[in-house]
Amino acid sequence: MTNPRSAATIRAAGHTRDPNIPRLLVMLVFVFALMTLLRPNQFATMADFNSMMRQFPEYGIMAIGISLTMITGGIDLGVVGTANLSAIVAAKFLIGSVPQGALPAQVVPYLIIAVLLSLSVGLACGAIAGTLISRFSIPAILATLGTQQLFTGIAIGITNGRPQSRLPLLYSRIGNLELFKFVPISFIIFSVVAVGVGLMLSRARFGTHMYMMGTNARAARYAGLGNNSIILRTYMLSGLLSSVAGLIMMARANSAKADYGAPYTLQCVLIAVLGGIDPNGGFGTITGVTIAILILQFLSSGLNMFNNISNFYRDVIWGGVLILVLVFNKLLSWRAERRAVRKSVA
């Protein structure tokens, strides 16, 4: 299926520029200005920025993971399950092995192992999803629906549904560190992830392979791209990112539970689509997704400042904005098509 927006891809030294970004930037500026005007003393203050930076990395990283899978023409609906399961594994390890009253210096190696464990679980979860989709040809929506249930289910099973909260203090202390008393460590992690993944997509071979495979998997096969390997690696990456998000959530909540972040799945898909990721695959950039994340966060924080407007209005606005963006894009592409038909011959 062709993406009409791509017809407007413009020249740039070697890679295509995303035509969504100008639109997104306008939206970003608009929301920012609106919120600042309405609550000048609360919004756009250092305290407010700080609070926002603490909130979005966890779902932002998952949104990036989902975006990658959507670019290859699939979708990973299991990110939240993976995040929770990997966090719970780390938590159980820490709770079970760190001796009581241990000194911080002694705790550190346990923390390192816990993080590595968690990341491995994330990779494994992603590998399972990737295998189901590539080797067993199960459609991505269904496979990841299944893995979401499976991983969440396992998480519930091994914890009996109870939160794991007796974590060593050092974990949340490190996890909630802020550089210069202002920049949270989670924000730094998010930035590294965003820049890294963005570079990979736009400048690395693997990124091009992902885009091409998402556009036409059959042709990708005939071009020797190695579809199964691409799918596997993409979902493993998504799983890895989910486990990072899970660790961040665990630091913020100082506990791990099987059902944290349940609404995040939907939110992340919305972010991806708003950010310009084509659900059919082959198009979209991390820059666009990042701007979409910021827009959501501004909206969210902005709404929080109005005490008489419930948080849930955010969902209304979010759903409404998504629909408006879709409609707008559609009208644009109809216009482009009409122009193209006029130029076509025979």
């Binding site: 067993f136 499976l150 939907l266 919305l270 209005y313 969902d315 879709l326």
Partner: protein
């Protein structure tokens, strides 16, 4: 014409086999499965998901995926409930159904407009409308759990019969809402099989461009479809709160994915064009047995979700395998013509 080959290629027999196997296993382990009381309980549990899955199946057959039906059901149900409570309504429960269905219709119409007329992608649109509706419910209406009007509660208490378990002495009541499910099944069966509208839904799922060229009113059919789904969702919302005599706005949210899984397990193709009511109900039955009866074979409830996930994966894996072997058969058949 019926042929063994054709039967083997469909999913329903496998699901049925799985249900039978599971039932026997549970019966052997606990001796409780085939007790009247358990069967009634199971039927009771599957009424709401079954109603949802009928709507869900219709959309998937048309080539789309709708995840907003639970949000529609919740919002419609909630508004109806508050409305009736606020006006101290004590009349017939039919009005509740009517209002809820009407609200569902409106919400479905929004989906129908965006998907049918503007041709926007279904998954993303319904994700958006789902968000919109739940946001309205919790935000604008600050929904919280509440009671239900007396007539609804009464309606919930109307039972067909009571089944008693000889061994444990437990009783289960077969609710009268079962008639709504049966009614819906009959109506939709007739619609899909014997009306041009119904065949149009299948045609659109098979090849939308061809459907347009053939003269089907694709926009109209899709609009009808999503409105119908809305109506069904609204009705299901009232069924739900009448069965538990309590209106908790979040009670149905989150079911979408299990319903979709049940529909797909039942043989409906995700890409559209193929799907049967029989298969869908079998799929729902299987999922219900899984979530309700695992405890009877000693699998603690904590593990039921993991088990469900495993079943979804296995089920979809088998379906995917069937599709692939069908394609290979065609390729070989093509070659035979030299």
């Amino acid at each position: 014409m019926i042929s063994v080959g054709r039967i083997a290629r469909r999913s329903e027999p496998y699901v049925l086999a799985a249900i039978v196997a599971l039932s026997v296993l549970i019966q052997v382990q606990s001796g409780q499965f085939f007790s009247g009381n358990n069967l009634v309980d199971l039927t009771r549990s599957l009424i709401v998901p079954a109603l949802f899955s009928i709507a869900c199946m219709m959309v998937i057959v048309s080539g789309g995926i709708d995840v907003s039906f639970t949000a529609i059901a919740s919002l419609a149900m909630y508004v109806t409930d508050r409305l009736l409570l606020a006006s101290n309504y004590s009349g017939n429960v039919m009005l509740a159904y009517a209002i809820s269905a009407g609200l569902g219709l409106l919400m479905g119409a929004l989906n129908g407009f965006l998907i049918g007329f503007l041709k926007l992608p279904t998954l993303v649109v319904t994700l958006g409308t789902s968000s919109l509706f739940t946001g309205l419910m919790f935000g604008a209406f600050s929904a919280s759990a509440s009671d239900v009007p007396p007539s609804i509660a009464m309606h919930g208490k109307q039972i067909l019969f009571t089944a008693t378990n000889a061994q444990t002495g437990l009783t289960s009541n077969m609710p009268s809402q079962i008639f709504i499910l049966i009614g819906a099944l009959i109506l939709v069966f007739f619609l899909l099989r014997y009306t041009m509208l119904g065949r149009g839904i299948y045609a659109i799922g098979g090849d939308e461009t061809a459907a347009e060229r053939a003269g089907f009113n694709v926009r109209g059919i899709k609009m009808f479809l999503y409105c119908f789904v809305g109506v069904l969702a609204g009705i299901t919302g009232i069924v739900r709160i009448s069965m538990i005599a309590y209106a908790d706005p979040s009670t149905m949210l989150g079911m979408e994915l299990t319903v979709i899984a049940a529909v797909v397990l039942g043989g409906t193709r995700v890409t559209g064009g193929l799907g049967t009511l029989t298969g869908t109900i079998l799929g729902v039955a299987l999922m219900t047995i899984l979530s309700n009866s695992l405890i009877l074979i000693g699998i603690p409830t904590y593990w039921s979700r993991a088990f469900t996930g495993l079943v979804i994966i296995l089920g979809t894996g088998i379906t995917a395998h069937q599709i692939r072997s069908t394609r290979r058969r065609h390729a070989r058949a093509q070659k035979a013509t030299v």
